[in-house]
């Protein structure tokens, strides 16, 4: 059997591989196993996005299900030459934005998250990098974490989303803009506004 050509560089990881295109076609024909395999490279990222945005394991799990069920149902509209990651993140972003807007409307705050090892922690607790750190430092870190959460809560859902995708997911502003149906410039303005709000809210700590 002839070997399939493999991506030549690290950067080609962003592109659409032949195997991925085949999985898309199979999934479009209703092959759920192909769909599950297709999303495996991205579903951790989607769950991480939801968890960091919503800071609630339960909500993140719901977003995960809704994102991938929506994706499965609308696979027929996916063009094979498009980027599956961008497409999935676009759906996930919309689902997350709906959650954030509903939450904002209800003035609800989430209750828990998971630390680096996946252990549930109170929302406002940032995992300590070094458990042996001295108590004063631990306390200071917790205060800082509380302030960060408050500052982030002051962002609009859209600002929060752009910030999250750029800061924690490393997506370029051009990609984020495309995902959100906006220009790169609009995404840049949104990120700028978000960082300015954060700086302003945390000015006394800096």
């Amino acid at each position: 059997m002839a070997a399939e050509p493999e991506p030549a560089t690290v950067e080609e990881a962003q592109g659409v591989s032949r195997e991925e295109a085949e999985l898309v076609r199979a999934a479009q024909r209703g092959d759920t196993a192909a769909f599950e395999r297709l999303i495996r490279a991205y579903d951790r990222g989607v769950l991480r996005l939801a968890l960091n945005l919503l800071r609630s394991v339960e909500d993140a799990q719901e977003v995960y299900q809704e994102t991938f069920l929506r994706a499965y149902r609308s696979l027929s509209s996916f063009r094979a030459d498009s980027n599956i990651q961008t497409w999935l993140y676009r759906i996930a972003s919309n689902v997350c934005l709906d959650y954030l807007r509903k939450r904002k409307a209800r003035r609800e705050s989430p209750v828990s998250g998971e630390d680096g090892e996946g252990v549930p922690v109170p929302l406002l607790q940032v995992p300590e990098r070094r458990p042996e750190a001295d108590p004063e430092r631990v306390l200071a870190n917790r205060r800082l974490a509380e302030r960060l959460e408050q500052a982030l809560a002051g962002l609009t859902p859209r600002e929060r989303m752009v910030f999250e995708l750029r800061h924690y997911h490393g997506l370029r502003l051009r990609t984020i803009g495309a995902m959100m149906g906006a220009s790169e410039e609009a995404a840049k303005t949104c990120l700028y506004r978000a960082t300015q709000k954060l700086r302003s809210a945390l000015r006394d700590l800096l």
């Binding site: 059997m1 070997a3 493999e6 991506p7 560089t9 690290v10 080609e12 990881a13 195997e19 209703g30 759920t32 769909f35 599950e36 495996r40 490279a41 579903d43 951790r44 769950l47 991480r48 968890l51 960091n52 394991v57 993140a60 799990q61 995960y64 299900q65 991938f68 069920l69 499965y72 149902r73 998250g113 998971e114 630390d115 680096g116 090892e117 996946g118 252990v119 940032v126 995992p127 990098r129 870190n141 800082l144 974490a145 960060l148 959460e149 750029r166 800061h167 924690y168 490393g170 370029r172 502003l173 840049k188 990120l191 700028y192 960082t195 300015q196 954060l198 700086r199 945390l202 800096l206």
Partner: protein, 298 residues
């Protein structure tokens, strides 16, 4: 560039979102303006503080999500069959029947229809029967069809080079529910990693297996192929996104073995900026120094 313009650009600078000309102008201004340099340090401190609040989903959470999605997708796959059964009172009764009733139905169906149903079915305990039923449909002529998954153990024996054995091992490495089975498969496949199909399975395990032990084992198997472009692409992804520091350490150790400047510099600069693990940051720094590259990301 004046102070106000510089400060406006600092956040975008930290995200590497400025044009070359803007960066140059900003560098020039920072070099000669202590006040703006101080502002830059504050902006960087905020950036780093925000890095610390990142949450990672637990592997168990991801695994639970995948299981639930698998269940929901299976339900999506047969919408016609379920709609059909909802539309008929007899089928409603069917759906609501207890496992015991299903057993009885299986018995009846087994007697009335072609022998596609195991004649020994009535003797199967109700609970076990319920878990073995995969679909229930009614044909337009009123016949009921029940799909039952039969499980029988078979023992296959052969050499590792035997294609049939290899296919089973590949399937087990990808899909076995038990991580110990996936681990055993990966361990055995290691000896055949020069074959493309095996290497692809190992790469999938490295990137997608929910169990870090399996991912580490697959990384070990790929060690001799650290110069393979596909392996390096996977290693870069692992280094960027695997939640387990042990796996990321293994990935960076393999990546920096080959000093490919054009490929590594950007990646290492990106990782050093957001990595929480001290060893990995140190390894990035050392590798960048060996490559005569700057540690900064801009």
């Amino acid at each position: 560039m004046n102070c106000e313009g510089t400060r406006d650009l600092l956040p975008l600078y930290l995200y590497g979102e400025l044009t070359f000309e803007q960066e140059e102008a900003l560098h020039r201004h920072l070099e000669q303006c202590p006040a703006c340099s101080s502002e830059f340090e504050k902006a960087r401190a905020l950036h780093e503080a925000l890095d610390q609040r990142r949450l990672e989903p637990a592997p168990e959470t991801l695994a639970a999500c995948r299981r639930e999605l698998h269940r929901r997708l299976a339900a999506e796959r047969r919408p016609f069959a379920w709609r059909f059964t909802f539309a008929r009172p007899a089928a409603w009764a069917l759906r609501l029947a207890s496992a015991t009733a299903l057993a009885a139905l299986g018995f009846v169906v087994g007697r009335w229809t072609a022998p596609t149903v195991d004649p020994g079915l009535p003797g199967v305990p109700a609970a076990a029967l319920a878990t073995a039923i995969r679909f229930i449909e009614q044909d337009p002529d009123g016949q009921v069809r029940i799909g039952i998954e039969e499980r029988r153990q078979r023992v296959l024996r052969g050499r590792l080079a035997d294609p049939a054995i290899q296919q089973w091992l590949l399937a087990a490495a990808r899909d076995a529910a038990d991580p110990a089975l996936r681990l055993d498969s990966v361990e055995l496949l290691r000896a055949r990693a020069e074959e493309q199909s095996v290497r692809r399975a190992l790469l999938e395990a490295v990137e997608q297996d929910p169990n870090p032990g399996v991912r580490l084992k697959a990384l070990e198997a790929l060690k001799p192929f650290a110069s393979d472009p596909a392996v390096r692409v996977a290693l870069a992804r692992v280094l960027r996104s695997d939640e387990n520091p042990g796996v990321r350490i293994q990935a960076i150790d393999l990546l920096v073995q080959q000093r490919r400047r054009d490929e590594l510099v950007g990646l290492l600069q990106e990782v050093i900026h957001r990595e929480e693990n001290n060893y990995i940051r140190l390894r990035c720094r050392q590798a960048l120094e060996e490559l005569n590259a700057s540690v900064g990301t801009f």
